[in-house]
Symmetry: C2
Subunit: 143 residues, 2 copies
DNA sequence: ATTGGTGCAAATCCTTTGCAATAGC
DNA sequence: GCTATTGCAAAGGATTTGCACCAAT
């Protein structure tokens, strides 16, 4: 059994609140995602988790990542060409994806998407998230 | 230039310019994409094209859609959960994706992404495209 | 006549499903 | 003890690959 760490407290609270079970897989998956401090694929999360919990399986990884996204503790990031990443940051920020090497960087700038959100709302669309994705060539691939 | 024309003149011009061949598959795929006037999956493009060119195969569809995107005649749209759509509109506009039914709507509003693009550029990132994706619940799924 | 494009079949990759076993409550 | 959660194996679906044939230049 895992000792509670500050980073998993909110997960424990949310699970209890929803009557769902606190499992070591759930705690470790969130911890590894946050420890990486970057965007990970499901396979990378799986590899990282297996260092602590050998035998952890893809279905558990996918189900748990879905759960974390639903709980608001992570964000799913579809960066194109079928690549899906999971982001431990849940505050609004943009992403820049390199067309050549596939690297994904956070972009530290705020986007004013109020006009777009208002337009969507006028069409009867209830906006939950707004994502900005830049595509182009990253610094390392420029040369 | 690329002003909307009833024909596929701009595709023919671009192909000639690059020394690539003008094939009926390429013409029909672009025509069907534009005729739909909405976002299509590769499979939907394939079905539409086969009405005119029976036997058209997935590899041709994918290669040609890639080509159209590279030529700037279409845009690829990754709307999450592994769904990839192709958009005949190449002017900047946002998209709203319904989390429940998966419907994708155009949002007719401009986004001011200059701050984000400037921040990315300051990091040495050469921005080519900027996409805004809203996720939430569409009008029909609200009730 | 050349060779870029196409069609077919099969392979690959990522993700999900069914079900028995396990572990949290 | 009850049942949600997990692990395993296998299925599923989308996209890509290898290769022979065809058709645009």
């Amino acid at each position: 059994m895992l000792a509670d760490s500050p980073t998993t407290d909110d997960l424990v609270a949310l699970l209890r609140q929803r009557g769902q079970r606190v499992t070591s897989q759930r705690l470790v998956i969130l911890r590894e995602l946050r420890r990486a401090a970057r965007h990970l694929t499901a396979a990378e999360v799986c590899a990282a988790v297996r260092d602590d919990l050998p035998g952890t399986s893809p279905p558990t990884i996918y189900a748990t990542l879905d759960l974390l996204v639903e709980l608001g503790l992570a964000r799913r990031l579809d960066v194109g060409l079928g690549v899906t990443l999971y982001d431990p940051r849940v505050d609004p920020h943009a992403h820049a994806v390199c067309r050549r090497c596939g690297a994904v960087e956070d972009v530290e700038a705020r986007v004013d998407s109020t006009a777009v959100m208002r337009a969507a709302h006028a069409d009867g669309f209830q906006v939950e998230h707004s994502d900005v994705l830049l595509t182009g060539i990253c610094r390392r691939c420029t040369n």
